[in-house]
Assembly symmetry: C2
Homo-oligomer: 312 residues x 2
Protein backbone atom coordinates (compact mmCIF):
# COMPACT_ATOMS: atom_id res chain seq x y z
CA UNK A 1 0.00 0.00 0.00
CA UNK A 2 1.22 3.48 -0.89
CA UNK A 3 0.58 6.18 1.70
CA UNK A 4 0.09 9.66 0.22
CA UNK A 5 0.42 12.67 2.52
CA UNK A 6 -1.73 15.72 1.75
CA UNK A 7 -1.14 18.43 4.34
CA UNK A 8 -2.67 21.26 2.27
CA UNK A 9 -5.41 19.74 0.07
CA UNK A 10 -7.78 21.95 -1.90
CA UNK A 11 -11.27 21.97 -3.25
CA UNK A 12 -10.75 22.69 -6.95
CA UNK A 13 -13.67 24.60 -8.49
CA UNK A 14 -13.66 25.07 -12.27
CA UNK A 15 -16.01 27.34 -14.23
CA UNK A 16 -16.25 26.98 -18.01
CA UNK A 17 -17.39 30.24 -19.60
CA UNK A 18 -17.66 30.99 -23.33
CA UNK A 19 -16.20 34.49 -23.69
CA UNK A 20 -15.50 35.77 -20.18
CA UNK A 21 -16.52 39.34 -19.31
CA UNK A 22 -13.75 40.27 -16.90
CA UNK A 23 -15.61 43.31 -15.62
CA UNK A 24 -19.18 42.01 -15.66
CA UNK A 25 -21.53 39.18 -14.78
CA UNK A 26 -20.88 35.69 -16.19
CA UNK A 27 -23.06 32.60 -16.06
CA UNK A 28 -20.78 29.56 -16.38
CA UNK A 29 -22.33 26.85 -18.55
CA UNK A 30 -20.34 24.16 -16.77
CA UNK A 31 -19.20 23.95 -13.14
CA UNK A 32 -16.81 21.28 -11.87
CA UNK A 33 -15.76 20.51 -8.30
CA UNK A 34 -13.03 18.02 -7.40
CA UNK A 35 -10.65 17.28 -4.55
CA UNK A 36 -7.31 18.85 -5.46
CA UNK A 37 -3.83 19.64 -4.35
CA UNK A 38 -0.74 17.72 -5.48
CA UNK A 39 -1.06 14.81 -3.04
CA UNK A 40 -4.65 14.05 -4.02
CA UNK A 41 -3.75 14.16 -7.73
CA UNK A 42 -0.97 11.62 -7.06
CA UNK A 43 -3.37 9.43 -5.09
CA UNK A 44 -6.02 9.42 -7.84
CA UNK A 45 -3.47 8.51 -10.50
CA UNK A 46 -2.16 5.64 -8.32
CA UNK A 47 -5.73 4.47 -7.79
CA UNK A 48 -6.35 4.56 -11.55
CA UNK A 49 -3.20 2.43 -11.99
CA UNK A 50 -4.73 -0.19 -9.70
CA UNK A 51 -2.31 0.47 -6.86
CA UNK A 52 -3.52 0.20 -3.27
CA UNK A 53 -3.36 3.75 -1.94
CA UNK A 54 -4.35 5.62 1.19
CA UNK A 55 -4.36 9.36 1.81
CA UNK A 56 -3.62 10.93 5.18
CA UNK A 57 -3.84 14.67 5.62
CA UNK A 58 -5.35 17.68 7.28
CA UNK A 59 -8.78 19.10 6.42
CA UNK A 60 -11.28 21.51 7.94
CA UNK A 61 -14.55 23.31 7.36
CA UNK A 62 -17.14 22.55 4.74
CA UNK A 63 -14.49 22.66 2.02
CA UNK A 64 -12.56 20.00 3.94
CA UNK A 65 -15.74 17.90 4.11
CA UNK A 66 -16.17 18.32 0.36
CA UNK A 67 -12.58 17.22 -0.27
CA UNK A 68 -13.00 14.10 1.89
CA UNK A 69 -16.35 13.26 0.30
CA UNK A 70 -14.99 13.77 -3.24
CA UNK A 71 -12.02 11.54 -2.54
CA UNK A 72 -14.27 8.80 -1.15
CA UNK A 73 -16.52 9.13 -4.23
CA UNK A 74 -13.42 8.60 -6.40
CA UNK A 75 -12.82 5.33 -4.53
CA UNK A 76 -9.68 6.49 -2.73
CA UNK A 77 -9.36 5.73 0.99
CA UNK A 78 -8.56 8.83 3.01
CA UNK A 79 -8.24 9.91 6.63
CA UNK A 80 -7.92 13.56 7.60
CA UNK A 81 -7.04 15.02 10.97
CA UNK A 82 -9.53 17.84 11.59
CA UNK A 83 -8.39 21.46 11.69
CA UNK A 84 -10.28 24.52 12.92
CA UNK A 85 -9.36 26.42 9.74
CA UNK A 86 -11.09 25.95 6.43
CA UNK A 87 -9.46 23.87 3.68
CA UNK A 88 -8.51 26.20 0.81
CA UNK A 89 -10.24 26.44 -2.56
CA UNK A 90 -8.65 26.87 -5.93
CA UNK A 91 -10.79 28.53 -8.53
CA UNK A 92 -10.19 28.16 -12.26
CA UNK A 93 -12.01 30.14 -14.93
CA UNK A 94 -11.64 28.47 -18.32
CA UNK A 95 -12.64 30.64 -21.27
CA UNK A 96 -13.88 28.09 -23.78
CA UNK A 97 -13.55 30.64 -26.60
CA UNK A 98 -10.02 31.94 -26.04
CA UNK A 99 -8.79 28.81 -24.17
CA UNK A 100 -7.27 31.11 -21.56
CA UNK A 101 -7.40 29.83 -17.99
CA UNK A 102 -7.20 32.09 -14.95
CA UNK A 103 -6.34 30.36 -11.67
CA UNK A 104 -7.04 31.76 -8.22
CA UNK A 105 -5.31 29.85 -5.42
CA UNK A 106 -6.53 30.71 -1.95
CA UNK A 107 -3.95 30.65 0.84
CA UNK A 108 -4.08 27.50 2.96
CA UNK A 109 -5.54 27.52 6.47
CA UNK A 110 -3.21 27.97 9.43
CA UNK A 111 -2.49 24.68 11.21
CA UNK A 112 -1.80 24.60 14.95
CA UNK A 113 0.80 22.42 16.65
CA UNK A 114 -1.98 20.43 18.33
CA UNK A 115 -3.70 19.75 15.02
CA UNK A 116 -0.43 18.64 13.44
CA UNK A 117 0.13 16.31 16.39
CA UNK A 118 -3.24 14.66 15.63
CA UNK A 119 -2.09 14.23 12.05
CA UNK A 120 1.21 12.67 13.21
CA UNK A 121 -0.68 10.04 15.21
CA UNK A 122 -2.70 9.22 12.09
CA UNK A 123 0.48 9.13 9.97
CA UNK A 124 2.38 6.86 12.38
CA UNK A 125 -0.56 4.46 12.59
CA UNK A 126 -0.83 4.35 8.80
CA UNK A 127 2.91 3.83 8.20
CA UNK A 128 2.93 0.28 9.52
CA UNK A 129 2.75 -2.12 6.59
CA UNK A 130 3.17 0.55 3.91
CA UNK A 131 5.30 -0.09 0.83
CA UNK A 132 6.05 3.59 0.19
CA UNK A 133 5.16 7.09 1.34
CA UNK A 134 4.61 10.04 -1.02
CA UNK A 135 5.24 13.52 0.44
CA UNK A 136 3.93 16.01 -2.07
CA UNK A 137 2.78 19.60 -2.26
CA UNK A 138 3.00 22.83 -0.29
CA UNK A 139 2.94 23.07 3.49
CA UNK A 140 0.03 25.04 4.96
CA UNK A 141 0.80 28.14 7.04
CA UNK A 142 1.88 27.32 10.58
CA UNK A 143 3.88 24.20 9.76
CA UNK A 144 7.67 24.49 10.00
CA UNK A 145 9.70 23.95 6.82
CA UNK A 146 11.32 20.83 8.32
CA UNK A 147 7.92 19.07 8.48
CA UNK A 148 8.63 16.84 5.46
CA UNK A 149 12.07 16.00 6.85
CA UNK A 150 10.38 14.87 10.08
CA UNK A 151 7.85 12.73 8.18
CA UNK A 152 10.63 11.25 6.04
CA UNK A 153 12.64 10.40 9.17
CA UNK A 154 9.65 8.60 10.72
CA UNK A 155 9.18 6.65 7.48
CA UNK A 156 12.89 5.74 7.50
CA UNK A 157 12.54 4.52 11.09
CA UNK A 158 9.68 2.28 9.89
CA UNK A 159 11.81 1.16 6.89
CA UNK A 160 9.30 2.63 4.42
CA UNK A 161 10.85 4.34 1.35
CA UNK A 162 9.83 7.94 0.61
CA UNK A 163 9.09 9.79 -2.63
CA UNK A 164 9.49 13.53 -2.00
CA UNK A 165 7.98 16.16 -4.31
CA UNK A 166 8.63 19.57 -2.81
CA UNK A 167 10.50 22.77 -3.44
CA UNK A 168 12.38 25.37 -1.44
CA UNK A 169 13.42 24.66 2.11
CA UNK A 170 11.10 21.61 2.32
CA UNK A 171 13.15 20.02 -0.51
CA UNK A 172 16.56 20.96 0.93
CA UNK A 173 15.68 19.70 4.40
CA UNK A 174 13.74 16.69 3.16
CA UNK A 175 16.64 15.44 1.03
CA UNK A 176 18.80 15.22 4.16
CA UNK A 177 16.32 12.67 5.59
CA UNK A 178 17.33 10.20 2.84
CA UNK A 179 14.26 9.77 0.58
CA UNK A 180 14.32 6.95 -1.97
CA UNK A 181 13.41 9.45 -4.70
CA UNK A 182 13.30 13.25 -4.75
CA UNK A 183 11.36 14.74 -7.70
CA UNK A 184 12.06 18.47 -8.13
CA UNK A 185 11.20 20.35 -11.28
CA UNK A 186 13.88 22.52 -12.89
CA UNK A 187 12.94 25.65 -10.92
CA UNK A 188 12.93 23.72 -7.64
CA UNK A 189 16.30 22.13 -8.41
CA UNK A 190 17.76 25.55 -9.28
CA UNK A 191 16.38 26.86 -5.98
CA UNK A 192 17.95 23.95 -4.07
CA UNK A 193 21.43 24.47 -5.53
CA UNK A 194 20.97 28.25 -5.73
CA UNK A 195 22.21 28.68 -9.31
CA UNK A 196 20.79 28.68 -12.84
CA UNK A 197 21.07 25.35 -14.64
CA UNK A 198 21.40 25.44 -18.42
CA UNK A 199 21.62 22.14 -20.27
CA UNK A 200 21.22 18.52 -19.21
CA UNK A 201 24.79 18.23 -17.93
CA UNK A 202 24.25 21.08 -15.48
CA UNK A 203 20.95 19.51 -14.37
CA UNK A 204 22.61 16.14 -13.84
CA UNK A 205 25.40 17.70 -11.80
CA UNK A 206 22.90 19.51 -9.56
CA UNK A 207 20.84 16.33 -9.15
CA UNK A 208 24.02 14.52 -8.12
CA UNK A 209 24.49 17.16 -5.41
CA UNK A 210 21.04 16.33 -4.00
CA UNK A 211 22.07 12.67 -4.02
CA UNK A 212 25.22 13.56 -2.14
CA UNK A 213 23.03 15.45 0.36
CA UNK A 214 20.99 12.31 1.10
CA UNK A 215 18.49 11.43 -1.66
CA UNK A 216 18.99 7.90 -3.03
CA UNK A 217 17.75 8.99 -6.46
CA UNK A 218 16.79 12.33 -7.98
CA UNK A 219 14.36 12.64 -10.86
CA UNK A 220 14.11 16.11 -12.40
CA UNK A 221 11.00 16.97 -14.40
CA UNK A 222 11.90 19.24 -17.32
CA UNK A 223 8.50 19.97 -18.91
CA UNK A 224 8.66 19.37 -22.65
CA UNK A 225 12.20 17.98 -22.31
CA UNK A 226 11.03 15.03 -20.23
CA UNK A 227 12.68 13.53 -17.16
CA UNK A 228 16.27 13.13 -16.04
CA UNK A 229 16.94 10.49 -13.38
CA UNK A 230 20.22 10.43 -11.47
CA UNK A 231 20.39 7.21 -9.44
CA UNK A 232 22.88 4.87 -7.81
CA UNK A 233 22.47 2.57 -10.80
CA UNK A 234 23.00 5.16 -13.52
CA UNK A 235 21.62 8.24 -15.16
CA UNK A 236 18.72 8.12 -17.65
CA UNK A 237 16.93 10.66 -19.78
CA UNK A 238 13.34 10.07 -20.88
CA UNK A 239 12.37 12.30 -23.82
CA UNK A 240 8.68 12.60 -24.76
CA UNK A 241 7.82 12.05 -28.44
CA UNK A 242 6.59 15.57 -29.20
CA UNK A 243 4.89 18.47 -27.52
CA UNK A 244 1.42 17.41 -26.34
CA UNK A 245 -1.36 20.01 -26.40
CA UNK A 246 -3.44 20.25 -23.26
CA UNK A 247 -3.39 21.18 -19.60
CA UNK A 248 0.05 20.70 -17.95
CA UNK A 249 -1.45 21.15 -14.44
CA UNK A 250 -0.88 17.95 -12.53
CA UNK A 251 1.57 16.43 -15.03
CA UNK A 252 4.29 16.50 -12.36
CA UNK A 253 1.89 14.74 -9.97
CA UNK A 254 1.32 11.98 -12.53
CA UNK A 255 5.11 11.59 -12.82
CA UNK A 256 5.35 11.25 -9.02
CA UNK A 257 2.60 8.62 -9.07
CA UNK A 258 4.48 6.70 -11.78
CA UNK A 259 7.74 6.85 -9.82
CA UNK A 260 6.08 5.63 -6.60
CA UNK A 261 4.30 2.89 -8.54
CA UNK A 262 7.58 1.73 -10.11
CA UNK A 263 9.32 1.96 -6.75
CA UNK A 264 6.93 -0.44 -4.99
CA UNK A 265 6.92 -2.82 -7.99
CA UNK A 266 10.73 -2.77 -8.14
CA UNK A 267 10.66 -1.79 -11.83
CA UNK A 268 14.15 -1.22 -13.30
CA UNK A 269 15.00 2.47 -13.67
CA UNK A 270 14.76 2.75 -17.45
CA UNK A 271 11.27 1.22 -17.45
CA UNK A 272 10.23 3.11 -14.31
CA UNK A 273 11.19 6.38 -15.97
CA UNK A 274 9.35 5.50 -19.18
CA UNK A 275 6.23 4.63 -17.16
CA UNK A 276 6.40 7.91 -15.19
CA UNK A 277 7.05 10.02 -18.30
CA UNK A 278 4.17 8.36 -20.17
CA UNK A 279 1.80 9.09 -17.27
CA UNK A 280 2.92 12.72 -17.26
CA UNK A 281 2.35 13.00 -21.01
CA UNK A 282 -1.05 11.26 -20.85
CA UNK A 283 -2.09 13.55 -17.99
CA UNK A 284 -1.46 16.66 -20.12
CA UNK A 285 -3.94 15.33 -22.69
CA UNK A 286 -6.63 14.63 -20.03
CA UNK A 287 -9.24 17.23 -19.08
CA UNK A 288 -8.53 17.21 -15.32
CA UNK A 289 -5.56 16.66 -13.00
CA UNK A 290 -5.22 13.11 -11.69
CA UNK A 291 -6.86 11.61 -14.77
CA UNK A 292 -5.50 9.99 -17.91
CA UNK A 293 -6.84 7.89 -20.78
CA UNK A 294 -5.23 4.49 -21.22
CA UNK A 295 -4.89 5.02 -24.99
CA UNK A 296 -2.94 8.25 -24.36
CA UNK A 297 -0.73 6.39 -21.88
CA UNK A 298 -0.02 3.54 -24.32
CA UNK A 299 0.72 5.96 -27.17
CA UNK A 300 3.09 7.98 -24.97
CA UNK A 301 4.77 4.82 -23.66
CA UNK A 302 5.55 3.71 -27.22
CA UNK A 303 6.86 7.14 -28.24
CA UNK A 304 9.12 7.97 -25.30
CA UNK A 305 12.86 7.61 -25.87
CA UNK A 306 14.76 6.50 -22.77
CA UNK A 307 18.54 6.70 -23.09
CA UNK A 308 21.13 5.82 -20.53
CA UNK A 309 23.10 8.94 -20.25
CA UNK A 310 26.82 9.03 -21.01
CA UNK A 311 27.43 11.97 -18.71
CA UNK A 312 26.85 10.03 -15.49
CA UNK B 1 -41.54 38.85 12.89
CA UNK B 2 -40.65 39.12 9.21
CA UNK B 3 -40.33 35.85 7.31
CA UNK B 4 -37.85 35.97 4.42
CA UNK B 5 -38.04 33.26 1.77
CA UNK B 6 -34.79 32.21 0.09
CA UNK B 7 -35.43 29.43 -2.43
CA UNK B 8 -32.10 29.83 -4.27
CA UNK B 9 -29.51 31.07 -1.75
CA UNK B 10 -25.84 31.20 -2.65
CA UNK B 11 -22.45 30.97 -1.05
CA UNK B 12 -20.75 34.20 -2.15
CA UNK B 13 -16.98 33.83 -2.49
CA UNK B 14 -14.96 36.99 -3.12
CA UNK B 15 -11.27 37.10 -4.07
CA UNK B 16 -9.38 40.39 -3.86
CA UNK B 17 -6.42 40.38 -6.26
CA UNK B 18 -4.08 43.30 -7.01
CA UNK B 19 -3.65 43.18 -10.81
CA UNK B 20 -5.41 40.04 -12.03
CA UNK B 21 -3.63 37.86 -14.60
CA UNK B 22 -6.58 36.56 -16.59
CA UNK B 23 -4.50 33.86 -18.26
CA UNK B 24 -2.23 32.87 -15.37
CA UNK B 25 -1.98 31.97 -11.70
CA UNK B 26 -3.20 34.45 -9.06
CA UNK B 27 -2.82 34.35 -5.29
CA UNK B 28 -5.66 36.42 -3.80
CA UNK B 29 -4.46 38.48 -0.82
CA UNK B 30 -7.96 38.49 0.67
CA UNK B 31 -10.69 35.85 0.52
CA UNK B 32 -14.23 36.45 1.74
CA UNK B 33 -17.09 33.99 2.12
CA UNK B 34 -20.64 35.00 3.01
CA UNK B 35 -24.17 33.69 2.67
CA UNK B 36 -25.69 35.39 -0.37
CA UNK B 37 -28.62 35.61 -2.68
CA UNK B 38 -31.23 38.36 -2.55
CA UNK B 39 -33.33 36.92 0.29
CA UNK B 40 -30.37 36.55 2.63
CA UNK B 41 -29.22 40.11 1.89
CA UNK B 42 -32.71 41.35 2.81
CA UNK B 43 -32.66 39.27 6.00
CA UNK B 44 -29.28 40.60 7.14
CA UNK B 45 -30.33 44.21 6.53
CA UNK B 46 -33.54 43.63 8.53
CA UNK B 47 -31.49 42.05 11.31
CA UNK B 48 -29.14 45.07 11.31
CA UNK B 49 -32.22 47.31 11.64
CA UNK B 50 -33.19 45.44 14.80
CA UNK B 51 -36.20 43.74 13.21
CA UNK B 52 -37.10 40.19 14.24
CA UNK B 53 -36.45 38.12 11.12
CA UNK B 54 -36.47 34.48 10.15
CA UNK B 55 -35.29 32.88 6.92
CA UNK B 56 -36.88 29.80 5.39
CA UNK B 57 -35.46 28.29 2.25
CA UNK B 58 -33.90 25.39 0.44
CA UNK B 59 -30.25 24.36 0.81
CA UNK B 60 -28.08 21.36 0.00
CA UNK B 61 -24.54 20.03 -0.03
CA UNK B 62 -21.55 21.48 1.75
CA UNK B 63 -22.24 24.90 0.20
CA UNK B 64 -25.72 24.73 1.71
CA UNK B 65 -24.19 23.91 5.09
CA UNK B 66 -21.86 26.88 4.72
CA UNK B 67 -24.78 29.19 3.90
CA UNK B 68 -26.74 28.00 6.96
CA UNK B 69 -23.69 28.28 9.22
CA UNK B 70 -22.82 31.75 7.92
CA UNK B 71 -26.37 32.98 8.48
CA UNK B 72 -26.37 31.63 12.04
CA UNK B 73 -22.98 33.30 12.66
CA UNK B 74 -24.55 36.59 11.49
CA UNK B 75 -27.23 36.14 14.16
CA UNK B 76 -30.09 35.50 11.74
CA UNK B 77 -32.45 32.58 12.45
CA UNK B 78 -32.83 30.29 9.47
CA UNK B 79 -34.40 26.96 8.58
CA UNK B 80 -33.68 25.23 5.30
CA UNK B 81 -35.43 22.24 3.79
CA UNK B 82 -32.68 19.90 2.57
CA UNK B 83 -32.18 19.25 -1.15
CA UNK B 84 -30.08 16.57 -2.83
CA UNK B 85 -28.49 19.17 -5.10
CA UNK B 86 -25.71 21.50 -4.06
CA UNK B 87 -26.49 25.13 -3.18
CA UNK B 88 -24.90 27.36 -5.85
CA UNK B 89 -21.82 29.52 -5.41
CA UNK B 90 -21.23 32.97 -6.76
CA UNK B 91 -17.63 33.89 -7.32
CA UNK B 92 -16.42 37.49 -7.51
CA UNK B 93 -12.91 38.52 -8.51
CA UNK B 94 -12.22 42.09 -7.44
CA UNK B 95 -9.12 43.62 -9.02
CA UNK B 96 -7.93 46.05 -6.35
CA UNK B 97 -5.80 47.90 -8.92
CA UNK B 98 -8.30 48.46 -11.74
CA UNK B 99 -11.41 48.23 -9.49
CA UNK B 100 -12.95 45.89 -12.08
CA UNK B 101 -15.11 43.11 -10.68
CA UNK B 102 -15.85 39.90 -12.56
CA UNK B 103 -18.80 37.90 -11.28
CA UNK B 104 -19.39 34.20 -11.95
CA UNK B 105 -22.86 33.02 -10.95
CA UNK B 106 -23.27 29.27 -10.91
CA UNK B 107 -26.66 27.89 -11.95
CA UNK B 108 -28.86 26.92 -9.01
CA UNK B 109 -29.44 23.26 -8.10
CA UNK B 110 -32.51 21.50 -9.45
CA UNK B 111 -35.24 21.16 -6.83
CA UNK B 112 -37.63 18.21 -6.88
CA UNK B 113 -41.35 18.39 -6.13
CA UNK B 114 -40.79 16.36 -2.95
CA UNK B 115 -38.11 18.74 -1.72
CA UNK B 116 -40.34 21.75 -2.42
CA UNK B 117 -43.13 20.05 -0.49
CA UNK B 118 -40.80 19.81 2.54
CA UNK B 119 -40.12 23.52 2.17
CA UNK B 120 -43.87 24.26 1.99
CA UNK B 121 -44.41 22.50 5.32
CA UNK B 122 -41.64 24.64 6.84
CA UNK B 123 -43.13 27.78 5.26
CA UNK B 124 -46.68 27.09 6.46
CA UNK B 125 -45.46 26.39 9.99
CA UNK B 126 -43.43 29.61 10.01
CA UNK B 127 -46.27 31.78 8.61
CA UNK B 128 -48.33 31.64 11.79
CA UNK B 129 -47.70 34.79 13.80
CA UNK B 130 -45.68 36.54 11.10
CA UNK B 131 -46.09 40.27 10.46
CA UNK B 132 -44.89 40.09 6.86
CA UNK B 133 -43.36 37.76 4.28
CA UNK B 134 -40.62 38.77 1.84
CA UNK B 135 -40.44 36.78 -1.43
CA UNK B 136 -37.21 37.74 -3.13
CA UNK B 137 -34.80 36.44 -5.72
CA UNK B 138 -34.64 33.92 -8.54
CA UNK B 139 -36.34 30.53 -8.50
CA UNK B 140 -34.01 27.53 -8.73
CA UNK B 141 -34.38 25.14 -11.70
CA UNK B 142 -37.28 22.74 -11.29
CA UNK B 143 -39.68 25.14 -9.57
CA UNK B 144 -42.63 26.39 -11.65
CA UNK B 145 -42.88 30.13 -12.32
CA UNK B 146 -46.11 30.33 -10.30
CA UNK B 147 -44.24 29.31 -7.11
CA UNK B 148 -44.20 32.85 -5.68
CA UNK B 149 -47.90 33.27 -6.53
CA UNK B 150 -48.59 30.09 -4.54
CA UNK B 151 -46.54 31.30 -1.57
CA UNK B 152 -48.27 34.71 -1.71
CA UNK B 153 -51.69 33.03 -1.77
CA UNK B 154 -50.83 30.98 1.32
CA UNK B 155 -49.66 34.15 3.08
CA UNK B 156 -52.91 35.89 2.10
CA UNK B 157 -54.88 32.96 3.54
CA UNK B 158 -52.97 33.48 6.80
CA UNK B 159 -53.59 37.28 6.59
CA UNK B 160 -49.85 37.98 6.35
CA UNK B 161 -48.87 40.81 3.95
CA UNK B 162 -46.30 40.03 1.25
CA UNK B 163 -43.42 42.05 -0.20
CA UNK B 164 -42.56 40.62 -3.62
CA UNK B 165 -39.22 41.28 -5.33
CA UNK B 166 -39.08 39.30 -8.53
CA UNK B 167 -38.98 39.72 -12.28
CA UNK B 168 -40.39 38.00 -15.34
CA UNK B 169 -43.21 35.53 -15.02
CA UNK B 170 -42.71 35.27 -11.23
CA UNK B 171 -43.55 38.98 -10.97
CA UNK B 172 -46.55 38.86 -13.35
CA UNK B 173 -48.04 35.83 -11.63
CA UNK B 174 -47.12 36.96 -8.13
CA UNK B 175 -48.85 40.33 -8.56
CA UNK B 176 -52.12 38.55 -9.23
CA UNK B 177 -51.92 37.00 -5.73
CA UNK B 178 -52.33 40.49 -4.20
CA UNK B 179 -49.01 41.33 -2.48
CA UNK B 180 -48.94 44.38 -0.20
CA UNK B 181 -45.90 45.69 -2.09
CA UNK B 182 -44.30 44.62 -5.38
CA UNK B 183 -40.76 46.00 -5.91
CA UNK B 184 -39.62 45.62 -9.52
CA UNK B 185 -36.66 47.51 -10.94
CA UNK B 186 -37.09 49.38 -14.21
CA UNK B 187 -36.10 46.42 -16.39
CA UNK B 188 -38.45 44.09 -14.52
CA UNK B 189 -41.32 46.57 -14.78
CA UNK B 190 -40.69 46.97 -18.52
CA UNK B 191 -40.73 43.17 -18.82
CA UNK B 192 -44.00 42.95 -16.92
CA UNK B 193 -45.80 45.49 -19.14
CA UNK B 194 -43.86 44.41 -22.26
CA UNK B 195 -42.91 47.92 -23.43
CA UNK B 196 -40.07 50.42 -22.92
CA UNK B 197 -40.72 53.02 -20.23
CA UNK B 198 -39.12 56.44 -20.68
CA UNK B 199 -39.69 59.07 -18.01
CA UNK B 200 -41.34 58.96 -14.57
CA UNK B 201 -44.85 59.38 -15.97
CA UNK B 202 -44.48 56.23 -18.07
CA UNK B 203 -43.09 54.35 -15.06
CA UNK B 204 -45.97 55.51 -12.86
CA UNK B 205 -48.52 54.43 -15.47
CA UNK B 206 -46.94 50.97 -15.72
CA UNK B 207 -46.80 50.65 -11.93
CA UNK B 208 -50.51 51.54 -11.81
CA UNK B 209 -51.14 48.64 -14.20
CA UNK B 210 -49.47 46.24 -11.73
CA UNK B 211 -51.71 47.69 -9.03
CA UNK B 212 -54.73 47.07 -11.22
CA UNK B 213 -53.48 43.49 -11.69
CA UNK B 214 -53.52 42.92 -7.92
CA UNK B 215 -50.59 44.54 -6.08
CA UNK B 216 -51.70 46.92 -3.33
CA UNK B 217 -48.63 49.11 -3.86
CA UNK B 218 -45.81 49.10 -6.43
CA UNK B 219 -42.39 50.57 -5.68
CA UNK B 220 -40.07 50.83 -8.67
CA UNK B 221 -36.32 51.09 -8.06
CA UNK B 222 -34.71 53.36 -10.63
CA UNK B 223 -31.00 53.18 -9.74
CA UNK B 224 -29.55 56.67 -9.50
CA UNK B 225 -33.01 58.17 -9.96
CA UNK B 226 -34.28 56.73 -6.69
CA UNK B 227 -37.66 55.12 -6.01
CA UNK B 228 -41.16 55.71 -7.33
CA UNK B 229 -44.04 54.40 -5.17
CA UNK B 230 -47.54 54.07 -6.60
CA UNK B 231 -49.93 53.26 -3.75
CA UNK B 232 -53.57 53.49 -2.80
CA UNK B 233 -52.72 56.58 -0.77
CA UNK B 234 -50.82 58.45 -3.44
CA UNK B 235 -47.69 58.45 -5.57
CA UNK B 236 -44.28 59.51 -4.21
CA UNK B 237 -40.83 59.91 -5.68
CA UNK B 238 -37.73 59.59 -3.51
CA UNK B 239 -34.66 61.13 -5.16
CA UNK B 240 -31.21 60.40 -3.70
CA UNK B 241 -28.99 63.42 -3.01
CA UNK B 242 -26.26 62.61 -5.54
CA UNK B 243 -24.58 59.64 -7.16
CA UNK B 244 -22.89 57.51 -4.49
CA UNK B 245 -19.67 55.71 -5.43
CA UNK B 246 -19.49 52.06 -4.46
CA UNK B 247 -20.94 48.66 -5.12
CA UNK B 248 -24.61 48.72 -6.24
CA UNK B 249 -24.96 44.94 -5.72
CA UNK B 250 -27.60 44.40 -3.08
CA UNK B 251 -28.88 48.00 -3.07
CA UNK B 252 -32.27 46.73 -4.28
CA UNK B 253 -32.27 44.18 -1.47
CA UNK B 254 -31.68 46.95 1.08
CA UNK B 255 -34.64 48.84 -0.42
CA UNK B 256 -36.81 45.71 -0.03
CA UNK B 257 -35.68 45.39 3.60
CA UNK B 258 -36.60 49.03 4.23
CA UNK B 259 -40.03 48.59 2.62
CA UNK B 260 -40.79 45.46 4.68
CA UNK B 261 -39.56 47.19 7.82
CA UNK B 262 -41.79 50.21 7.16
CA UNK B 263 -44.71 47.92 6.33
CA UNK B 264 -44.65 46.08 9.66
CA UNK B 265 -44.12 49.35 11.58
CA UNK B 266 -47.01 51.02 9.70
CA UNK B 267 -44.76 53.93 8.69
CA UNK B 268 -46.54 56.47 6.42
CA UNK B 269 -45.57 56.09 2.76
CA UNK B 270 -43.41 59.23 2.42
CA UNK B 271 -41.30 58.24 5.43
CA UNK B 272 -41.28 54.56 4.45
CA UNK B 273 -39.92 55.46 1.03
CA UNK B 274 -37.27 57.79 2.51
CA UNK B 275 -36.16 54.99 4.87
CA UNK B 276 -35.96 52.44 2.05
CA UNK B 277 -34.12 54.81 -0.30
CA UNK B 278 -31.62 55.76 2.44
CA UNK B 279 -30.90 52.10 3.12
CA UNK B 280 -30.33 51.51 -0.61
CA UNK B 281 -27.95 54.46 -0.79
CA UNK B 282 -26.07 53.43 2.38
CA UNK B 283 -25.75 49.88 1.05
CA UNK B 284 -23.96 51.13 -2.09
CA UNK B 285 -21.31 52.74 0.12
CA UNK B 286 -20.80 49.54 2.18
CA UNK B 287 -18.19 46.92 1.18
CA UNK B 288 -20.60 43.95 1.09
CA UNK B 289 -24.24 43.26 0.27
CA UNK B 290 -26.57 43.27 3.29
CA UNK B 291 -24.37 45.70 5.21
CA UNK B 292 -24.55 49.44 5.80
CA UNK B 293 -22.94 51.99 8.11
CA UNK B 294 -25.31 53.98 10.31
CA UNK B 295 -23.52 57.25 9.45
CA UNK B 296 -24.07 56.57 5.72
CA UNK B 297 -27.75 55.83 6.42
CA UNK B 298 -28.24 59.04 8.45
CA UNK B 299 -26.48 61.13 5.80
CA UNK B 300 -28.60 59.62 3.02
CA UNK B 301 -31.79 60.03 5.04
CA UNK B 302 -31.10 63.76 5.45
CA UNK B 303 -30.28 64.23 1.76
CA UNK B 304 -33.14 62.34 0.11
CA UNK B 305 -35.92 64.44 -1.41
CA UNK B 306 -39.35 62.82 -1.17
CA UNK B 307 -42.05 64.56 -3.18
CA UNK B 308 -45.68 63.62 -3.51
CA UNK B 309 -46.12 63.28 -7.19
CA UNK B 310 -48.61 65.42 -9.08
CA UNK B 311 -48.98 62.86 -11.83
CA UNK B 312 -50.90 60.35 -9.73
Amino acid sequence: MILVVSLNPALDVTHHVAGVDWSGVNRPQQVGTAPGGKGLNVARTLHALGAAVQVVGLAGGVTGEAVAAGLAAAGVAGAFAPIAGQTRRTFAVVDTNSHDTALFNEPGPAVTAGEYHEFLVLYENSLAGCDAVVLSGSLPPGLPEESYAGLAARAAAAAVPVVLDAGGAALRRGVAAGPAIAKPNLAELQGAVRRPLVGLAAVAAAAAELRAAGAHAVVVSLGGEGLLAVTGEGTWHAAPPAQVAGNPTGAGDAVVAGLAHGLVLGTPWADRLRHAAALGTACVAAPAAGQFAEADYQRALAGIQVTEWAGR
